[in-house]
C-alpha cells in the first residue's frame, strides 16, 4: 500500500548503540549545564539549552529506535503533524498571555 521511502539497514544494531551512547552523553551534558546559572546571562538561556538537548535526544529516539528514518511517508507525516499541532496549541495560547501587557505579572495572588 504505502511506499517505503528507505529500506531497513541490514544491521541496525550499530545505529542502536550509537543512539544509546548519544542519549547517555546528552543526559550527562544536560545535567552538567543545568548546574550553571545561565539565567544571569540571559533569562531564558537555561531552558533553551535544556530543551535543545531534549529535542536532539527525542529526535534520535524517533528516527532510529522508532524507525521513522526508514518508515513510510505516511508515518513521517503523522510524526510531523503531531509536533505541528502541539506547537499550534502552545504558540497561540502563549501569544495571548504574552501580548496581554501584564504578563507575567497579572496572575497570582
Amino acid at each position: 500500500m504505502a511506499e517505503h521511502s528507505h529500506a531497513h539497514p541490514d544491521n541496525p544494531l550499530k545505529y542502536y548503540i550509537g543512539v544509546f551512547t548519544l542519549l547517555l552523553v546528552m543526559t550527562g551534558l544536560t545535567v552538567f549545564v543545568a548546574k550553571y546559572d545561565l539565567e544571569h546571562i540571559w533569562p531564558p538561556l537555561n531552558i533553551i539549552v535544556a530543551m535543545t538537548i531534549a529535542v536532539i535526544k527525542a529526535t534520535a529516539v524517533v528516527m532510529i529506535f522508532m524507525h521513522v528514518r526508514w518508515s513510510s511517508r505516511l508515518t513521517q507525516l503523522i510524526v510531523v503533524s503531531g509536533i505541528f499541532w502541539l506547537i499550534i496549541m502552545l504558540a497561540f495560547t502563549v501569544s495571548d498571555y504574552y501580548t496581554r501587557g501584564g504578563w507575567p505579572t497579572t496572575l497570582g495572588q
Binding site: P43, G101, G102, G108, Q109
Partner: protein, 346 residues
C-alpha cells in the same frame, strides 16, 4: 434594536445591519437558486441522466475570492470597533466594580458606593476597572453594546461614553451559578445637574484613596514603605507607572496588577536590592481593599507634586466632556503616564 445609549452604539448598529443585509442576500440567493433549479430541472423520467459538468475554474475562483474579500472587510470593521472598545480612553471617570455571587458593587472616585445600580453622567467618558470576589461574571449593558468578563484574580477594564439619559439594563452575562439571572441591575444616566445632585445625596464615605491610606496605615505597610527609601522596603511615593528593576534582572512596570500581586503574592517578583521580607496579605484584605490601596499608591504618584489623596484621574467627577463625538479614544499606545493614564491590563 435596543436603545442606542453609548458612543459605540451607532457604529455597532450600522455594522449589524450591514451583516443582516449580507446574510439575507446570501440566504435568499442560495435558497432561490436551489428552489428554481429544483423546479426547472426536476426529474422527468426514471432513466434520465443529465449531462455531467465537471466544474469550472473561473467560477471556483470567483466564489472563493469574493467571499474572501467580503470576509476581510467584515474582519477589519469588527477589529476596528473592538480596538476602540478595548483601548483605554483619556481623562475618563474611573469607577471600580466588583462582581460577587450574585450582585454588583460599584465605587465612585469620590467615595460613593452603590449596589446593583450605577449612576453615570451623560457625555462623560467612563472607565470601569473590575474584578470578582468569586467566580467569573460579565458586566453587560446592552444599550451601550459593551460587555467584559469580570475575572477573579485579575483586573479587566472597559469603557464607554453614555450618550442618552435614562435607565438601562445591567445584566450578568457569564454564567455564575444559581442566581445568575438575578444578577441584574440598573444603569442610570443623568445629565450634569441631576448627576451632581445624586453625587451629593448618595451615601458617601471616604474616597477610595483616602480609605486606601487608612488601610496602608492599619495594615502597617508604612512601617516598611516610608516616604524616602529609608524603610526596609522601597518607597512607593512617586513610583506609579515607572519601571521597577527586579532581582532576576528583568523590569516590570508598576501598574495596578503589579501592585495587587505585590500585596497578595509578594514572593512572585522581588525588587532588586531588597530582601524577601514582605509578608503576604492574602486572606487579610478583600479585593475592594486592595483596590483602595492601589488608588492610594496611585495618588502618591507619579511624582509628588500633585496633592496627596486625590485620585489620579479625578477631574471633578461628572463634568461633561466637550461632545460625545469627541469621546473617541486616542488610540495611541504610548500614552504619557503623567496624565493619569493607566496601562491596559486584562
Amino acid at each position: 434594536m435596543p436603545e442606542q445609549a453609548s458612543s459605540f452604539a451607532l457604529e455597532y448598529d450600522l455594522f449589524y445591519l450591514f451583516l443582516i443585509a449580507l446574510t439575507t442576500f446570501f440566504t435568499i440567493g442560495i435558497s432561490a437558486a436551489a428552489v428554481i433549479f429544483l423546479i426547472k430541472y426536476r426529474r422527468r423520467s426514471q432513466g434520465e441522466v443529465p449531462e455531467q459538468i465537471e466544474g469550472d475554474m473561473r467560477l471556483e475562483i470567483t466564489w472563493t475570492v469574493i467571499p474572501f474579500l467580503i470576509a476581510m472587510f467584515i474582519f477589519a470593521w469588527g477589529a476596528k470597533l473592538y480596538y476602540q472598545m478595548y483601548t483605554d480612553p483619556k481623562d475618563a471617570l474611573e469607577i471600580f466594580v466588583t462582581g460577587k455571587q450574585w450582585m454588583w458593587r460599584a465605587q465612585h472616585p469620590d467615595g460613593q458606593r452603590e449596589i446593583n445600580e450605577l449612576h453615570l453622567p451623560l457625555g462623560r467618558r467612563v472607565k470601569l476597572t473590575m474584578t470578582s470576589e468569586d467566580v467569573i461574571h460579565a458586566f453587560y449593558i446592552p444599550a451601550f453594546r459593551t460587555k467584559t468578563d469580570v475575572v477573579p484574580g485579575r483586573y479587566t477594564t472597559t469603557w464607554f461614553t453614555p450618550t442618552r439619559t435614562g435607565t438601562f439594563h445591567l445584566f450578568c452575562a457569564e454564567y455564575c451559578g444559581t442566581q445568575h439571572s438575578g444578577m441584574i441591575g440598573k444603569i442610570v444616566v443623568q445629565d450634569y445637574s441631576d448627576y451632581q445632585a445624586w453625587l451629593r445625596g448618595a451615601p458617601k464615605e471616604m474616597t477610595p484613596a483616602e480609605a486606601g491610606q487608612k488601610f496602608f496605615t492599619s495594615l502597617a505597610c508604612n512601617n516598611c514603605h516610608k516616604d524616602q527609601d529609608a524603610g526596609r522596603g522601597p518607597s512607593l511615593a512617586g513610583q506609579f507607572g515607572s519601571d521597577v528593576k527586579l532581582e532576576n534582572g528583568s523590569t516590570v512596570k508598576m501598574d495596578e496588577a503589579y501592585i495587587r500581586e505585590s500585596i497578595l503574592n509578594p514572593g512572585a517578583k522581588t525588587v532588586l536590592g531588597y530582601p524577601h521580607i514582605m509578608p503576604t496579605f492574602q486572606g487579610q484584605v478583600t479585593e475592594e481593599q486592595v483596590a483602595m490601596i492601589i488608588q492610594y499608591i496611585k495618588s502618591i504618584g507619579p511624582k509628588q507634586n500633585e496633592a496627596v489623596a486625590k485620585p489620579a484621574a479625578a477631574a471633578p467627577a461628572g463634568q461633561p466632556a466637550a461632545k460625545p463625538a469627541a469621546a473617541q479614544p486616542t488610540g495611541t499606545t504610548a500614552k504619557p503616564v503623567a496624565q493619569g493614564e493607566q496601562p491596559k491590563q486584562n
